[in-house]
């Protein structure tokens, strides 16, 4: 079985220019991002690495339009995110972006199927109910959950939950999937399984993956590694990606 390539597969290029984010707390100023400029090609499988507090997650939030206090420019495909209204940004997230979090962030009171259907509630570009159901079923089969879609997330292992989270991220056929420590809560085997699933999807659908991680074995499986230190790009190298 294969996932149909996203129609926006060629719009997943990301351009970031002079990105800055300053946190102020108790009169102390912290520069989480300090003039980050980078470009990610559409369909790339990229790792963002760096020590704790280096600005990895802040960069990811900026790419996802989740942080409104960012200065600079974030362009995904043809859209400049920093200029969009809240409503337009929300719509953009619903239809063009997918998110995968370290702690899965599945809604515990909804079934697996319902979790997959949540993004469809917010997207204006949405197919009929049956089409959405069959898309969700297909994705769940693709990530190895099979027909257990009526169960709640709590009944699944961490690895399985993260697979469901990946399926949810792919539900609206996004051009870019942003992952924040997707293997951080998983053991090596499960982590590798999840990573290889993402890699497969990246290759099959041409979806751009940006993965924040501090794990070396994850970095090894990406095409490119961007290392942040103190909110600046310390290193941007091609890793070659292992099979």
């Amino acid at each position: 079985m294969s996932v149909r390539p996203a129609k926006a597969s060629n719009n997943g290029g990301i351009s970031v220019r002079d990105l800055r984010r300053v946190y102020r707390a108790d009169g102390v100023e912290t520069r989480a991002l300090d003039g980050v400029t980078l470009h990610i090609e559409s369909g790339e499988f990229v790792a963002i690495t760096g020590p704790s507090g280096s600005g990895k997650t802040t960069l990811l939030h900026a790419l996802g339009g989740l942080d409104r206090h960012i200065q600079g420019s974030v362009r995904i495909g043809d859209s400049e995110l920093t200029g969009l209204s809240d409503r337009a940004l929300a719509r953009y997230r619903a239809e063009q972006l997918g998110f995968v979090f370290q702690s899965f962030n599945l809604l515990p009171h909804l079934s697996i199927m319902e979790n997959l259907l949540v993004p469809t509630v917010f997207a204006q570009r949405s197919a009929g109910r049956d089409a959405l159901q069959s898309r969700a079923t297909e994705l769940l089969r693709r990530v190895g959950i099979g027909d257990r879609h009526h169960m709640r997330p709590g009944r699944f292992s961490g690895g399985q939950q993260q697979r469901v989270a990946i399926a949810r991220a792919l539900m609206m056929r996004p051009t870019v999937v942003l992952c924040d420590e997707p293997t951080g809560s998983l053991d090596i085997d499960n982590g590798n399984g999840v990573l290889s699933l993402m890699r497969d999807i990246n290759r099959e659908a041409g979806t751009t993956f940006v993965i924040v991680t501090h794990e070396a074995h994850v970095v090894d499986q990406t095409d490119r590694s961007i290392r942040l230190v103190d909110g600046r790009i310390d290193e941007d190298r091609t890793t070659g990606g292992t099979e």
Binding site: L66, R68, A90, H109, L117, V121, F122
Partner: protein
């Protein structure tokens, strides 16, 4: 999957929060519904039943010095000043739909009867007044019941569908009354001296028995042939004639029975004043009188030693009940001379034809024409010209205040005391209802605070989850709706539960009231009334306070920056 189903899923995951928040709303809305239904019910079921909303009664102004009261001011004549001229003027005043003058019986009269109800005949002073039949036309118009209509049979002589009351004949659209011989006329004589001889014989036959014996001069138009008859009221005609036949008397006994002496219509009686068959005078009684009788008088009399048990009465049991009255004779005196001429007491027959709130509270209300004729007969010329009060019906309730002001200022009349009481009672009920509704609003305000507290807690708990929803594409508006949707669900469930609770409470109060206070006058079947607007109003108030409580938490949730939500959640 849609926003509504997300709301429902959120409620189902934390039912305790939901029910805890809903409890206050249920109590507040239940109290709100209960007290409004009570206030409305008391006003509609009790007050408006006694006092018609767009109808008021005016009486001449009274000046009072302690126990001394005088009508019409300190000086001047003692008449009421309410006459046909005033009635006509008021009929033309803008906003006035109809004016109904009212005249009281102004001479002594006795009422007798009730054997079929009380087991023995009761005698009491007759208090009566007259109203135009039009005042009660809506409820007591000439209907299928025919002779139970509230009309003046003496003046209403038109045939109705070719039929006439009391066995009369319809001739050219007008009714001709059936002639008859009154039941108390026993002997016909050719001369007055013959009649006097028969009268003496009747006195002898009566012995110590109290018969009323009189000679009636019928003249040349006599329906019996002879110009004089002897009338004896007491035992039956046949019994008296048996006693008189034993003596050799001039003249002849009048036939008992048959068309010559009786009326073919069973409901009719032979009126001696007209010597024609007539239906009894229709009487309207007040439900107030019945309530007072059943509520106080009946229990009081039944509890007295030596007195027989008085039955409880109903309107149905009393409608159609006939009784007699002696006009011109009362406990305190007798009318003897009017306009320099003699007048004698005479008997009439009356019949209760219905109950109406416009009837005088204690007494009999009959068509105005009867009262005016009797007042002239026993009170003299002019006694039928002035009225004792005026009832004015306005076209709508908005015009009423203007009319009241006009009548008070221009004609020196004042509102009937019971309408003043109604105004006071209405204000009191509104005030008390207002206080209790305020109490309900206070409960609802506290509930709103409770909802705010609970929802702030819920928003804090779901902070990360709200961040996830925002990441998945939810706008601020959707987040806002999700929280307010839960509040609205509390309002819906709360309103339904509150309605159940309040209806249960109303049923309980009604049951207890009926059981504990069955004899309270005017106690309706239910103290509560449910106006059409109350259900939507209850929901609107519930929604208002739920949304008020959830507004701040919803705003906080909607304004939450997703990145901060993830950071704080982590």
């Amino acid at each position: 999957m849609n926003v509504a189903s997300l709301v429902v899923r959120n409620i189902r995951r934390q039912p305790r929060n939901f029910f805890f928040s809903a409890t206050g709303i249920v109590l507040g809305i239940a109290a709100f519904v209960f007290f409004i239904a009570l206030g409305y019910g008391v006003k509609r079921n009790i007050l408006d039943r006694i006092f018609v909303v767009n109808q008021v009664e005016f009486v001449p102004r009274t000046v009072s010095f302690g126990a001394f009261q005088r009508q019409g001011g300190l000086f001047g004549d003692s008449g009421t000043g309410i006459d046909d001229y005033m009635v006509d003027e008021l009929r033309d005043f803008p906003g006035v739909e109809a004016v109904f003058p009212r005249q009281q019986l102004s001479f002594p009269a006795l009422a007798m009867g009730g054997d079929s109800v009380f087991g023995e005949s009761m005698v009491t002073e007759l208090l009566a007044d007259g109203i135009p039949a039009a005042l009660v036309a809506e409820s007591f118009g000439r209907g299928a019941s025919g002779d139970l209509a509230f009309v003046d049979w003496r003046t209403d002589t038109a045939c109705h569908e070719g039929r006439c009351p009391a066995g009369g004949r319809c001739v050219s659209g007008q009714c001709e009354a059936q002639t008859c011989v009154p039941a108390d006329e026993v002997w016909a004589c050719a001369t007055r001296s013959d009649a006097a001889e028969v009268m003496r014989a009747a006195y002898n036959a009566a012995g110590r028995r109290r018969w009323r014996i009189s000679i009636r001069e019928l003249g040349d138009d006599s329906t019996v042939g002879e110009p004089f008859v002897v009338a004896v009221s007491g035992p039956s005609r046949a019994q008296i004639q048996r006693l008189l036949r034993a003596r050799e008397l001039p003249g002849r006994p009048l036939a008992d029975g048959g068309p010559e002496s009786g009326c073919t219509d069973e409901a009719a009686w032979c009126d001696p004043s007209t010597r024609s068959c007539a239906l009894p005078v229709p009487v309207l009684a007040s439900p107030t009188m019945l309530e007072l009788y059943n509520g106080n008088f009946q229990s009081m009399m039944s509890g007295m030693a030596g007195s027989s048990r008085m039955p409880r009465l109903t309107e149905d049991a009393l409608i159609g009940l006939g009784f007699e009255s002696v006009l011109g004779r009362g406990y305190l005196g007798e009318a003897t001379t009017v306009d320099d001429g003699d007048v004698a007491p005479r008997e009439i027959k009356l019949r209760i034809v219905g109950f109406s709130d416009v009837a005088m509270p204690i007494g009999a209300t009959i068509p105005l024409g009867y009262i005016q004729r009797w007042n002239v007969e026993y009170g003299g010329r002019g006694a039928g010209d002035e009225y004792h009060s005026l009832m004015i019906r306005s076209e709508d309730s908005q015009s009423l205040n203007r009319i009241i002001e006009h009548v008070q200022d221009e004609y020196g009349l004042e509102l009937h005391p019971r309408y003043k009481q109604a105004q006071r009672a209405g204000s009191m009920i509104t005030l008390v209802t207002g206080v209790f509704v305020l109490l309900s609003i206070t409960i609802l305000l506290l509930s709103a605070l409770n909802i705010m507290h609970t929802f702030l807690m819920v928003v804090a708990q779901r902070r990360r989850e709200i961040g996830v929803l925002r990441a998945l594409g939810a706008t601020r508006g959707v987040v806002y709706l999700l929280i307010l949707g839960e509040a609205l669900a509390i309002a819906v469930v709360g309103t339904v539960a509150a309605l159940g609770l309040s209806i249960g409470a109303m049923a309980l109060v009604d049951t207890l009231t009926q059981k504990q206070m069955p004899h309270v006058p005017f106690l309706p079947e239910s103290l509560f009334a449910f106006p059409d607007w109350l259900l939507p109003a209850a929901f609107a108030v519930a929604a208002l306070f739920c949304l008020l409580g959830a507004w701040l938490p919803a705003l906080r949730a909607a304004q939450m920056d997703p990145a901060e939500a993830f950071r704080d959640g982590a």
